[in-house]
């Protein structure tokens, strides 16, 4: 087990900068996710940690030791790719034993380690089978076992669940989290799926075009996103953004929209200054928009019943925003309604999309008033 540290790592492929001055510290025993859209540099980050890529600048540390120039085979970091690549002609036992046989471990030791790994992963009854006879989830576990059997100092997983169907993904999510807790091993998990990034890790790094946008616990990222990009990739449906104009009257920060105004409390400390008259965005998540008796007037654009809840799409000025409502609420398209934005869950972004102030659950940071 070991911590992993990337210090100002840059990696270019021709004209493309896959990683741009990335600094991240992954704690010993931590479940750490890297979230980003395709092309964000997630896989390059993993490949750099394991040693399949050499950074153009910067350094990689494992357990405090600089490993930038250490040969991949000598790092003792296991990596599992999306494509499992089990040996089809070997049994599960043979697949698990393979890395140990390669390392010329004694026979008794191999048997002991394989059985122990199989026990942890609940695949003992499968040891005699060939991969073709396994279900998708079972194959996943075997591949994981093969990565774990050498007792690596860290385990890296590249979108391990993306090839599985939705139900199995749900099960494996819970399973992986349990496993990581039981093993207590440093785990770096790359994904483009925000649900996976929210539900499993201790902390998550959000990556965009090779640049780290934010590193924090999933909940902190959810409630205090660093910018609009982060606020959009975390949460489903994504956060709503309403364009507004800054009014810095009597020392208080206020964002005015045609239908409402959001005002920050006198003591609130914005992350960056906003000029009077500058464009800005009010951000609010669908679950924090409530259809109410009084409040901001809006028009129903469409409704999306999802069973356990209904997404109500509301036209507000030029924009359509989403609200989450109980499934019992029934609304016709074009109906006039009133909505409330939960002031304890409002965010204010500057015109470039960087965060200025998040209420993050606190009452009294913002007040919201209809125009």
């Amino acid at each position: 087990m070991a911590s992993i540290r990337l210090e100002r790592v840059t990696k270019r492929f021709g004209a493309v900068t896959a990683l741009d001055d990335v600094s991240v510290e992954i704690h010993d025993g931590e479940f750490f996710a890297v979230l980003g859209p395709p092309g964000a540099g997630k896989t390059t980050l993993l490949r750099t940690i394991v040693g399949l890529e050499t950074p153009d600048a910067g350094d990689v540390y494992l357990g405090g030791e600089r490993i930038t120039d250490v040969f991949p085979g000598d790092r003792n970091i296991a990596i599992m790719f999306q494509n499992l690549a089990l040996y089809p002609d070997k049994t599960v036992f043979g697949n698990l034993a393979f890395p140990l046989r390669q390392a010329k471990a004694p026979k008794a030791e191999i048997r002991r380690r394989v059985e122990e790994t199989a026990r942890t992963l609940h695949i003992e009854p499968l040891l005699g089978r060939k991969p073709a006879k396994l279900s998708g989830g079972e194959r996943q576990r075997v591949a994981l076992g093969r990565a774990l059997v050498r007792e690596p100092r860290a385990l890296l997983l590249d979108e391990p669940l993306s090839a599985l169907d939705a139900l199995l993904r749900l099960e494996m999510r819970a399973e992986l989290k349990r496993l990581q807790r039981d093993l207590g091993r440093t785990l770096v998990y790359v994904t483009h799926d925000q649900v996976e990034a929210m539900s499993m890790p201790d902390r998550v790094a959000v990556l965009r075009e090779g640049v780290v946008q934010q590193v924090d616990t999933p909940e902190a990222v959810y409630h205090r996103p660093a910018n609009r990009f982060v606020a959009t990739v975390i949460g489903s449906p994504p956060m709503n953004f309403l364009p507004a104009t800054v009014e810095a009257s009597n020392g208080r920060l206020r964002a005015r929209h045609a239908s409402f105004a959001v005002e920050a409390a006198a003591g609130a400390a914005p992350a960056r200054p906003l000029a009077d008259g500058a464009p800005c965005f009010v951000g609010v998540r669908p679950e924090d928009v409530r259809i109410a008796e009084t409040g901001i007037p809006a028009t129903v654009y469409a409704t999306e019943p999802l069973g356990g809840e209904t997404v109500v799409d509301l036209a507000l000025g030029e924009r359509v925003i989403k609200a989450l409502a109980p499934p019992t609420l029934s609304l016709r398209p074009d109906a006039a309604v009133r909505i409330e934005l939960d002031p304890a869950r409002v965010h204010l972004f500057d015109g470039a999309g960087d965060i200025v102030l998040s209420a993050a659950g606190e009452r009294g940071v913002f007040t919201v008033r209809p125009a």
Binding site: A174, M198, S236, P333
Partner: protein
């Protein structure tokens, strides 16, 4: 515009694979219909038969009162949108949109074409980019153009096969509302093929759930969600998996005349809630295995007598891992299924 009726519709491929088996279904005129199911369930083959791209081996397809199985594709007056945007990248957005009208004989008046292009561009949201080359657009906008292209010829029926599955999640969430709104405005019959239950639930007036070539249930989204016809539908629909447990071992009264030993009890996670273990409300006592915070809600995974059980709640006080909790089932939301066949029991 037309209603679509499938009558014992069957497609058997050479080699004996029955992709679609005796599907009976009436899609009312002007409705938004989703064909939902896992890959290999027969949904795309069903759509291809409606379109005329595949010929049924048995059964019939009716558009209103007209049998269609011998009518060639070009004469069916259907519009398609596929996963891969079928647009001409070297043409402008305007040229792409007007294409279907320009190739018509007799060719409509120029002013008529312009008017239709303007209207369709407005509906699909590409008005601001009419003179840009289609190849220069974002993939999201390309798919809007593809949608507009098939709309402009005003087909009687619109067929969409997973049109947004290659696009990012935020855009998909946005297009769900847009497409529903478009269908509401143009009032055309729309058939939408998807494996994503959220899309089907969100947009469709009615959903046809298919599995292994067989129609499992046809109903409104809330029908499918709250009154699933069998355990397959119950499990396929819903973003947190429904709980299915042996009825016999639960303190719940079984439907009259049924032996609880032959029944499964099912309840959706959001219709259960955590209570103290000794609370009289507790239906079962369960051990907490895992808490998944998803932002807007928490999913709590538990085990009860060897079965996995899940509940969904608003984030708040979270149970500890290993803690024993009570789980209360909302009695009005309990469903029963025959344990052997999986069919709903009322």
């Amino acid at each position: 515009m037309a209603a679509i009726r499938l009558e014992k519709l069957t497609k058997e491929f050479p080699g004996g694979v029955v992709a679609v088996s005796e599907v009976d279904l009436t899609m009312p005129d002007g409705e938004f219909i989703a064909l939902l199911g896992p890959s290999g369930c027969g949904k795309t083959t069903t759509m291809n038969m409606i379109a005329g791209l595949e010929r049924p081996t048995a059964g019939e397809i009716w558009f209103d009162e007209r049998p269609m199985s011998r009518v060639p594709v070009g004469d069916r007056n259907v519009g398609f949108v596929f996963q891969n945007y079928a647009i001409f990248t070297h043409m402008t957005v305007r040229e792409n949109l007007s294409f279907g009208l320009r190739v018509r004989r007799p060719r409509p008046e120029r002013s008529q074409i312009d008017e239709r292009v303007a209207r369709v561009a407005e509906v699909v949201g590409v008005s601001g980019m009419l003179d840009r080359k289609a190849g220069r657009l974002s993939v999201n906008d390309m798919q809007k153009v593809a949608l507009g292209r098939s709309m402009i010829v005003e087909p009687a029926i619109f067929l969409l096969d997973e049109p947004f599955s290659n696009l990012d999640a935020a855009f998909r969430a946005y297009m769900r509302a847009e497409l529903k709104r478009i269908q509401h405005e143009i009032g055309q019959t729309m058939v939408y093929v998807t494996h994503d239950q959220v899309e089907a639930m969100a947009m469709a007036d009615r959903i046809a759930v298919m599995n292994l070539g067989v129609l499992q249930q046809f109903g409104s989204p809330l029908d499918i969600y709250d009154r699933p016809a069998n355990t397959f539908v119950a499990g396929f629909v819903g973003s947190t998996r429904i709980n299915i447990l042996p009825a016999e071992r639960l303190p719940v009264r079984a439907p009259a005349g049924r032996d609880p030993g032959t029944l499964s009890l099912a309840i959706r996670p959001e219709y259960t809630r955590i209570v103290p273990p000794d609370s009289p409300e507790a239906t079962i006592g369960a051990k907490v295995n895992l808490v998944e915070p998803l932002g807007a809600k928490d999913v709590v995974h538990m085990s009860w007598e060897g079965h996995d059980v899940r509940t969904v709640g608003t984030p708040g006080a979270r149970p500890r891992i290993g803690e024993l909790v009570g789980l209360a089932f909302d009695p009005s939301r309990i469903l029963f299924f025959d344990e052997a066949t999986g069919t709903a029991v009322n």
